[in-house]
């Protein structure tokens, strides 16, 4: 399997993690009206649980921002490759290796974003569970089976998140591999040409 294909597979795998069991949303939620029947203390607990969702959303935003920064680097890598093609030889190989390295990082970041989305859903599931626990404690939820649904839901999203981390770990390894290849290609080019400037300092 070639490198891009491999990356594509990783990404697809990550997507499957997100959409693994049906839709990428929560099946069980607590209605806001119902929560309003809970005590003030209980509501505070529930709102506190929502904080984790906000944190997860912030992390998702940060991941998206990082991806957009990488797209700038991708354009630069393409520019470098176009320029290097005119020279050919080792220099082109350095530029190509650099482009692949950046592509690997982009793939990883895309996978990360999926992970962050899973993180948001997991955080939401936990928040819903916290609300359900509050309602259960105050006798507003209904049967114990109802609470179990929320527990199962939180557990399921947590499991998917854990599974996804392994995919991220693979992506990380791939990035490291391409980075090493880039540096090796550059070292070859430098030793052959004595040119330290191009493909590094003169972007």
């Amino acid at each position: 399997m070639s490198a891009p294909q491999h990356a594509h597979h990783l990404f697809c795998l990550a997507l499957l993690t997100l959409c693994g069991c049906g839709t990428g949303s929560l099946s069980h939620t607590i209605d806001a009206d119902k929560l309003s029947e809970a005590s003030r203390q209980g509501q505070i607990v529930a709102f506190d649980a929502e904080n984790a969702v906000v944190v997860a959303l912030n992390q998702l935003d940060a991941a998206r921002e990082a991806l957009s920064e990488l797209s700038v680097q991708k354009r630069r890598a393409e520019r470098r490759l176009r320029r290097a093609r005119k020279k050919g030889g080792e220099r082109e190989q350095v530029a190509r290796a650099y482009e692949r390295y950046i592509e690997a990082r982009i793939e990883l970041q895309q996978t990360n974003i999926i992970g962050r989305k899973l993180g948001v859903l997991s955080a939401r599931a936990n928040a819903e569970l916290a609300k359900a626990l509050v309602l259960a404690r105050e006798g507003l939820l209904g049967s114990r089976a109802e609470l179990r649904k929320f527990r199962d839901q939180a557990r399921e999203w947590s499991r998917r998140l854990r599974r996804h981390r392994k995919i991220v770990s693979k992506g990380q390894a791939r990035v490291e591999k391409h980075e090493r290849r880039y540096w090796k290609a550059r070292a070859r080019y430098v030793s052959a040409s004595g040119d330290h400037n191009n493909e590094m300092w003169l972007d």
Binding site: R162, S169, H196, N197, W201
Partner: protein, 1087 residues
């Protein structure tokens, strides 16, 4: 179509030509018209005079008659004025016709006559009405008309009269002023001064300013500049206070403030310092025109006096005030002239700006032709360039920062105006130099960068390099830079640096430039960019000093990003790079890498602990075989332990043991794994981990672990392994605390009747100094069974003297058994002579045995009491039998034989009674304590038994098998070790494969979670029964029924045990209580 168009055009042209002719022509205002108008005015006034006279005629004796006189005089004066104006117009007309300038001297007879009429009318008024209220005014007008008529003598006398008669009137001051002016005009300065001075003695009024002004002129004419200056200043102040304009003695309106300020210039230049002139005149010039007028005169004066600094100052100010385009050229020339002649270059910035005002206003100067304007512009380019460069040179000499800053400002001003001039680049270079010298590095850098684009060769290289240096210097003083400046400086440095590298790739300065470029990214926090550049720098300049700095920056960058993996990789790579840094550097890097490894572990462990990821196992995989890999696994193990994730703990723990056998944490990990294995009911696995842990430890730690392993092995009935573990514990120094475990281990050997093994273990225990009553008893028992009676006696006696009740009872029992053997072996002599003695010995031994069994029975241990009582019965029976079966010698006479036999039978009968009594006593105890043993069973049947009480009756089909299909059960238990239902299922599974030891251990541990679980108690009872402990079995069945009276399995088991040990009634009673009497014995938990 063409004809109509031509016709239309022709018509339009015709209209255009005719239209102006049709317009109304503007009427020309002729002088004749003025004269006619004046004549009409005279007629009007004449009519008024007539009317006034008619009124006067009718108003004789009336109060308002004085007013009519006054009005009549005024009308005469007005009429005189009209005549005068007519004469003036005619004179102008005549002069115009002749083509000569009009004379100011006008002769008009009518005017003179009318003025005289007016004077006489005023005088008649004063004569008729001496108390007329406006008398001062009337007299003032008389004086005024006399003055106009040139009759100065009368004028003077009239004003003197006014002054004398009306001291409080304002007309008095006016009169004094007029008289002062009169004498001033006559050059009679003394007289003039006197009159002016008389004005000033009065209360401040509207004429005071004028009086001071006039007086100042008197002083000036006398050459008293100081006095004149004061009076001018006072006049300006007074005029400022009064505001508006003043009227002089001839009735002319003048701006006294302006006149005084302008007139004082002359004296100011002599008497005051020029440096303060701007402030002085700015403070007094109430409006821009006044201020400008004064400055203009002042500039002129200084220029004439060749006072160059003053001249430059004033001309600079004039140019600053935006003069007219025409004036600006003159002022500019004079300013430049003054500067050059005075060599005044210190204010070059202001001067250049001032001169550029001229350039700016040039397009508005329509008086000049285009070529002249160009010439002037070119001249001013030179002027400003000259001034700026002169200022720069002067600043270079003095090295004064202020001067340098002014030179920079002058350059900037020049460049704004002449940025496209051919010399502009030169000036830009100079400006960059000045900016650099004054610490304005950002501006300097931009300047150098800009000029470098038009340069070539070495000059260009120097300029670009200097730009880079300047950007770098700018960045080194971040406090002086705004955020925008910082961004600009960084991007500028990168831009200039890259340009340098592109143009001069082989230059030696490339190293410094590369470092600085990389540094800008680092300082900006853009580590993604900085890291590869710094790495490349290290690669290229490995052996140079800066390479280590760059390497440290790389590591810092990774650390700031919390990218510990990157830091470790980079640090290790640097450590391996040949020629990079010295030993100190390498040790620093090694320490950093070590710290990073710890931090990586910490962060991942924290994440793992909080459930936010943290893939410690991934780290372990990546760094397999290294200390970091080992530490990662250890932390992963700890995290799994905290999460109570048993399968993960085992998996990670096994990896640690396999890959890092020498890890110092391995023993603890193994102990933890053992504990978790025990907690999850994997006892054999736990024992294995304990043994592995023990192997890696020494001393007390090893002893403790081995003892625990031995305990577990013993519990599982694995006597060989248990014995081995105990031996290891003893070898490691286990002391007295090994005794309890040792009891369990030896007990297994005894149950297996393996006397050698038992004695071997007991020998080790004795060597290690481990002893207690039970062990002594076991040693005695083993020795007894292996035929070493002396050893047996010794050990049993020790045990019999111990504090352990059971051991004491048992030891006493077997001491009795030894005596009983001796008793049995003691035969009776066939020789009559010795028969008595042998009989006596046998009976003595019997008494000894009985006493010993009685002692054993009296210790109070139910099992051993019952056994001892049963044995007492046996001893008595045996004694009786011995007596009854005693062979008497044949030599004894029959009668004697009969007597002896009778005596022996009597004694034997007594003994039989004793035997029965002992059995009765035994039954009584058995019933009372419900003892479950072979002896008890025999007693209940009123029989004796030879069964060894120590020998347990183990189930025949006991196994040490592991039940199949319990893997899932174990997994569930690993997650929920407290679930009694799962524990029960596991224990039952062990029973099913006849592994009673394991079943007992599982059930016992399960009861720790739920002590009254009927099912577990029942299983424990079944296991105990299988392991030859019916007493414990009965106890557990009873407890189970107490907890759950309707639990049929326990009841059936209890009934079965009771029946097995002779309690038939009790067993029947229990069976009756069964709700389901047909319980299958196929169930594992049913006996």
């Amino acid at each position: 179509m063409r004809q109509p168009i031509v016709r239309t055009c022709a018509l339009a042209l015709l209209l255009a030509l005719v239209a102006p002719g049709c317009a109304t022509r503007g009427r020309k205002i002729l002088v004749d018209d003025n004269i006619a108008r004046l004549k009409r005015d005279i007629e009007k006034v004449q009519f008024a005079v007539g009317s006034t006279k008619r009124l006067m005629a009718r108003a004789r004796g009336k109060q308002y008659l004085a007013g009519l006189y006054y009005r009549l005089a005024e009308l005469y004066i007005e009429q005189a004025r009209y005549f005068y104006l007519i004469a003036l117009e005619r004179q102008k007309l005549a002069a115009k016709k002749k083509g000569v300038p009009a004379s100011s001297a006008v002769v008009s007879v009518q005017t003179r006559m009318l003025k005289n009429l007016a004077i006489s009318t005023f005088k008649r008024l004063l004569a008729l009405f001496p108390d007329y209220e406006d008398a001062p005014k009337v007299r003032f007008f008389i004086g005024h008309e006399l003055r106009e008529l040139g009759d100065y003598e009368k004028m003077i006398s009239t004003y003197e009269e006014l002054i004398e008669k009306h001291p409080g009137s304002n007309y008095r001051l006016e009169a004094l002023l007029v008289l002062g002016d009169h004498f001033f005009d006559k050059a009679n300065l003394d007289a003039a001064e006197r009159y002016y001075a008389r004005v000033l003695t009065g209360k401040e009024s509207h004429v005071h300013a004028m009086a001071r002004y006039k007086l100042a002129w008197c002083k000036l004419n006398r050459g008293d500049c100081a006095g004149a200056l004061k009076l001018f200043e006072a006049a300006v102040d007074a005029a400022t206070r009064l505001g508006g304009t003043s009227t002089d003695s001839q009735g002319k309106q003048i701006n006294l403030q302006r006149e005084a300020l302008v007139d004082l210039v002359y004296c100011y230049t002599d008497k005051r310092k020029w440096e303060n002139s701007i402030q002085y005149f700015r403070a007094r010039g109430q409006s821009k025109p006044i201020y400008l007028a004064a400055l203009r005169k002042l500039a002129n004066r200084y220029y004439i006096k060749q006072k160059w600094p003053a001249s430059a100052l004033i001309h600079r100010e004039l140019l600053r005030l935006e003069p007219s385009a025409e004036d600006a050229v003159e002022y500019g020339e004079r300013l430049y002239d003054s500067l050059v002649k005075g060599k005044l270059f210190t204010n070059a910035d202001s001067d250049v700006l001032a001169l550029l005002t001229v350039v700016r206003l040039l397009p508005q100067n329509l008086a000049l032709s285009s070529s002249d304007r160009k010439k002037i512009g070119a001249a001013y380019e030179k002027y400003t360039r000259f001034l700026a460069t002169q200022a720069h040179e002067q600043a270079n000499r003095s090295r004064e920062r202020d001067e340098l800053l002014r030179a920079a400002a002058a350059y900037r001003a020049y460049l704004r105006a002449f940025g496209d001039h051919e010399k502009a680049d030169l000036i830009r270079g100079n400006l960059a130099e000045v900016n650099y010298a004054t610490g304005k590095y950002l501006d300097a850098a931009a300047g150098y960068e800009a000029i470098s684009r038009r340069q070539k060769g070495k000059e260009r290289e120097d300029s670009i390099y200097t730009a880079v240096v300047a950007y770098d210097k700018a960045l080194r003083s971040p406090k002086d830079l705004s955020r925008l400046d910082t961004v600009l400086a960084r991007s500028g440095l990168r831009r200039a640096g890259r340009r340098y590298l592109r143009l001069f790739p082989r230059a030696a300065k490339g190293k410094e430039i590369k470092f600085n470029i990389a540094r800008t990214f680092f300082d900006a926090g853009d580590f993604e960019e900085a890291i590869p550049l710094l790495k490349a720098f290290v690669e290229e300049f490995t052996q140079q000093r800066d390479a280590t700095v760059a390497a440290h920056l790389v590591l810092d960058a990774y650390r700031t990003m919390d990218d510990f993996r990157g830091l470790i990789a980079a640090g290790k790579a640097f450590g391996k790079t040949r020629g990079l840094g010295d030993a100190t550097f390498r040790s620093e890097v090694a320490a950093i890498v070590k710290g990073a490894e710890n931090q990586l572990l910490s962060s991942e462990t924290i994440k793992a602990g909080t459930g936010r990821g943290g893939d410690l196992e991934a780290i372990a995989r990546k760094y397999k075989g290294t200390a970091l890999g080992g530490a990662a696994l250890v932390n992963a193990f700890v995290a799994a332990d905290n999460a109570r994730d048993a399968p993960k703990m085992f998996s990670i723990g096994e990896q640690i043991i396999e890959n890092y056998p020498a890890n110092k944490e391995a023993p603890k990990i193994l102990s933890a794994m053992a504990k978790i294995a025990m907690d999850t009911f994997q006892f054999e696995r736990g024992a294995k981990y304990l043994e592995q842990s023990g192997k890696r430890q020494r001393g007390a730690d090893a002893a403790t672990v081995y003892l625990a392993a031995a305990e577990v092995r013993a519990g599982l009935g694995q006597r060989d392994r248990a014995r081995r573990d105990l031996a290891q514990a003893l070898a490691a120094g286990a002391g007295a605390n090994a005794a309890d475990t040792a009891v369990k281990v030896v007990e297994l050997d005894l149950d297996a009747r393996d006397w050698n093994a038992a004695q071997q273990t007991l020998g080790r225990l004795a060597t290690a100094g481990v002893s207690n009553g039970t062990l002594d008893y076991f040693a005695g028992y083993a020795a007894l069974r292996s035929g070493d009676l002396a050893q047996a006696a010794s050990k049993l006696q020790s045990a019999a003297a111990s504090g352990d009740k059971t051991a004491r009872a048992a030891a006493q029992y077997y001491l009795a058994e030894a005596s009983f053997s001796a008793f049995q072996q003691q035969g009776l002599a066939t020789d009559l002579a010795q028969l008595g003695a042998s009989l006596q010995r046998k009976l003595g031994l019997m008494e000894q045995v009985k006493a010993q069994f009685a002692k054993a029975a009296s210790v109070g241990d139910a099992t051993w009491t019952v056994a001892a009582l049963n044995r007492l019965s046996v001893v008595a029976g045996e004694g009786a039998r011995s007596l009854e079966e005693a062979q008497l010698p044949g030599s004894v006479p029959p009668a004697v034989q009969q007597q002896i036999r009778t005596a022996l039978n009597r004694s034997a009968g007594q003994m039989r009674s004793e035997a029965k009594e002992a059995l009765k006593q035994c039954v009584k105890v058995v019933r009372k304590l419900q003892v479950m043993s072979a002896a008890a069973k025999a007693c209940l049947k009123s029989k004796t038994t030879d069964v060894d009480p120590q020998k347990r009756k183990l189930a025949k089909d006991l196994s040490s098998d592991t039940p199949p299909d319990v893997a899932d059960l174990r997994k569930q238990l690993a997650k929920n070790p407290g679930r009694v239902d799962l524990i029960t299922r596991l224990a039952r599974a062990y029973l099913a494969v006849k592994n009673a030891h394991a079943a007992r251990v599982v059930a016992s541990k399960g009861l720790e979670n739920k002590p009254n679980s009927a099912k577990l108690l029942n299983i424990l009872g079944v296991a105990s029964a299988m392991l030859g402990d019916p007493q414990a079995a009965l106890e557990n069945f009873s407890k189970a029924l107490t907890s759950e009276p309707n639990y049929d399995f326990a009841r059936a088991n209890k009934a079965r045990v009771l029946k097995r040990y002779g309690y038939k009634k009790e067993a029947a009673a229990e069976r009756k209580r069964l709700s389901n009497p047909s319980i299958s014995r196929d169930e594992p938990e049913v006996l």
